[in-house]
């Protein structure tokens, strides 16, 4: 643990990423207290006003304050990021552990399921599911979680395959410990490093996916503000109001960038060898 901190602290970019991530979380939690305006209060006299001292990031088509809407929107991004990654990690760990520990038919079946899920372009699958569900923040989180567990499953399986041959596992097997106990108490804690890294990198991917869906109008629905649906409104006013398009996008960029820097920093600090293996192109939030 100490060597981890030493390695992590040397990585300036990762530190900056971590600080920005923490600040963003703080802003999201404090949104009700620090928002200058009510995010949903229209003001017909101040429609599409450019940024000014009164409205730092300008106003939208209904005269609502963009900064306040973005602050509330960061709550959605944060919640979607954490909850959907939590769901994906739970599924991935359960399936990956079962496949890696038991091997044989369980392993073959699970890995074919992973292959199958990876054949679907994610956005097509998401759209097909979302078309028939009531769009809410909970649906979005669940659907993103259920379509994003494959990476974790593969990772956990690989760790389990390697770890179950080690002496400490054989020792506990010889003492008659149950498979359940061996998996949860002995193997999983040793496999968590790469999983944590995958989760940290999964959060920005989920945020990108959610904002893309909300941008298309199939994600979190107005009047609830999200970065994606502010951008959707920005697209409608593209010739009139650049500030509706520029600021929310910058917020997404900064958030995703910081999580990625943090995640890669954790990975390098945990184990420099991991650098080579992670599938970054594939995990991009599409």
């Amino acid at each position: 643990m100490r060597s981890f901190w030493k390695a992590f602290k040397r990585n300036k970019l990762a530190l900056i990423g971590g600080v920005v991530v923490a600040c963003l979380a703080l802003l999201a939690v404090l949104a009700p207290a620090i928002s200058p305006w009510d995010p949903n209060r229209p003001d017909v006299k101040r429609i599409l006003e450019p940024p000014s001292g009164r409205h730092l990031f300008g106003t939208d088509q209904l005269g609502r304050d963009v900064l306040s809407r973005m602050l509330y929107g960061s709550q959605v991004s944060l919640a979607v990021g954490f909850v959907s990654v939590g769901i994906a990690a739970t599924i991935g760990i359960l399936l990956g552990a079962a496949a890696g520990y038991h091997g044989g038919l369980v392993d073959a079946a699970t890995m074919r399921l992973v292959d199958l899920m990876l054949v679907f372009p994610r956005f097509f699958l998401l759209l097909a599911v979302l078309a028939f569900l009531k769009p809410s923040i909970w649906t979005i989180m669940t659907v993103i979680g259920f379509t994003g567990w494959m990476g974790v499953a593969r990772l956990v399986r690989a760790e389990f395959l390697a770890l179950k041959e080690r002496e400490f596992v054989m020792w506990s097997q010889s003492t008659g410990a149950s498979a359940f106990r061996i998996i949860w108490r002995h193997i999983l804690p040793n496999a968590m490093g790469p999983v944590l890294v995958a989760m940290t990198l999964g959060i920005p991917a989920a945020i990108l996916t959610e904002s893309g869906l909300s941008f298309l109008g199939l994600g979190v629905q107005p009047p609830r503000a999200t970065w994606g649906n502010i951008l959707n409104e920005g697209k409608d006013a593209i010739e009139l109001a650049w500030w509706l398009s520029v600021y929310p996008g910058l917020a997404i960029l900064a958030t995703v960038l910081s999580y990625n820097l943090l995640g890669e920093g954790i990975r390098d600090a945990l184990d420099p060898r991991l650098r080579q293996s992670a599938g970054r192109v594939v995990s991009r939030g599409r």
Binding site: M111, R112, L113, D115, L116, M117, L118, V119, F120, P121, R122, F123, F124, L125, L127, A128, V129, L130, A131, F132, L133, P204, L208, S211, G212, F215, L216, G217, L218, L231, G234, K235, I238, E239, W242, S245, V246, P248, G249, I252, L253, A254, V256, L257, N260, L261, Q276, G279, R280, V281, V282, R284, R286
Partner: protein, 330 residues
């Protein structure tokens, strides 16, 4: 080689069945009566007993799910994807047939541009590790990963479409395209494609140049590169011939793996730039809850991805014979 190809082809069959199964299940996960979904809960439609019965009959919705799936599968085998629920009620296959070429064109051009740029970028930043060029590209990679493609599209539309007025921002042809000469029409088409392709290329470029760099870094450390240098070959030959060939190998696989991502990206790009491709069709169908179109799209797109993956695997085993004899790469 042939035996290997056949084996891979046979292994693809359960995946194909899986694709149809997932597509069917996904659409039938929805709570409530499918007829209400179809009619959008519109009482005037649901309460018209004749129309209601007709819908149920036509789609076999009164039968148990496994029978519905079986019937749908049988029709799929005859390439009958059903008809759209939209008022025009056109066959789904025709609709897909009109739109698939556009999406394929976009993705193939995108892929070629990505490769043409990513390979030299990756090689240069690997051979000059920690140089200014390497640092700049690494920064570009991180920003590229973090930039939402729809936001980049909006910014480019504002800049090139509205502020500068250089490029059109929607559709594939201008309103007056019919009146232009042949060459003007081609130019018109290309200028409509410029922004969408730029946006689609951006994110993928970041990933691929990163991979290329990584792959190259690993290869340059190998013994055979040392011996190539030791026997006095020019550095240009060592890098450009010996190292590059080996570093390109993993890229073939990654190309296959990242296909679903690239194709999925066309959903966003096509709907922003109003390009009539598969992605835009999917979004429209999702809004209209047009479920024959949704199922058909899902099956076609994922089947294409499956075969493209297969092709990438075969290409890989062709360039690297170790794969054919050794264990399967997972």
């Amino acid at each position: 080689m042939l035996a290997y190809a056949l084996r891979r082809l046979v292994l693809a069959i359960p995946l194909l069945i899986g694709i149809t199964f997932v597509s069917f299940v996904v659409i039938h996960l929805a709570p409530g009566d499918p007829t209400q979904i179809i009619t959008g809960g519109d009482p005037s439609l649901v309460h018209d007993p004749k129309l209601y019965q007709q819908l149920i009959q036509e789609y076999g919705l009164d039968k148990p799910l496994h029978v519905q799936y079986w019937n749908w599968l049988k029709r799929l085998l005859r390439l009958d994807f059903g008809k759209s629920f939209a008022p025009h009620a056109r066959p789904v296959l025709t609709m897909i047939g009109e739109r698939l070429p556009i999406t394929l064109l976009l993705n193939v051009v995108e892929m070629l541009i990505i490769l043409a740029l990513a390979v030299p970028i990756g090689v240069l930043s690997a051979t000059r590790q920690y140089s200014t060029f390497d640092k700049i590209t690494t920064m570009f990679v991180f920003v590229g990963f973090a930039t939402p493609d729809f936001w980049l599209a909006l910014l480019l539309m504002i800049l090139f479409g509205i502020q500068l007025g250089w490029l059109p921002i929607s559709g594939l042809r201008s309103m007056n395209a019919e009146y232009l000469s042949f060459w003007q029409q081609q130019w018109d088409f290309l200028s409509h494609l410029a922004l969408p392709i730029l946006v689609a290329t951006f994110g993928g470029l970041a990933g691929f140049s990163r991979y290329m760099r990584q792959s190259m870094l690993e290869v340059v450390r190998q013994d055979y590169i040392q011996s190539a240098r030791a026997k006095g070959l020019a550095e240009r030959v060592v890098i450009g011939k010996h190292a590059l060939r080996n570093a390109l190998l993993p890229i073939v696989t990654i190309l296959g793996l990242s296909l679903p991502g690239l194709i999925g990206g066309s959903v966003i790009v096509e709907s922003i730039f109003a390009i009539p491709g598969m992605g835009q069709l999917m979004v429209q169908a999702a809004f209209e809850r047009d479920y024959p179109v949704l199922m058909g799209n899902l099956v076609v797109v994922s089947t294409l991805t499956l075969f493209a993956n297969l092709l990438a695997d075969l290409a890989y085993s062709f360039v690297d014979p170790r794969i054919r004899v050794g264990r399967r790469r997972r």
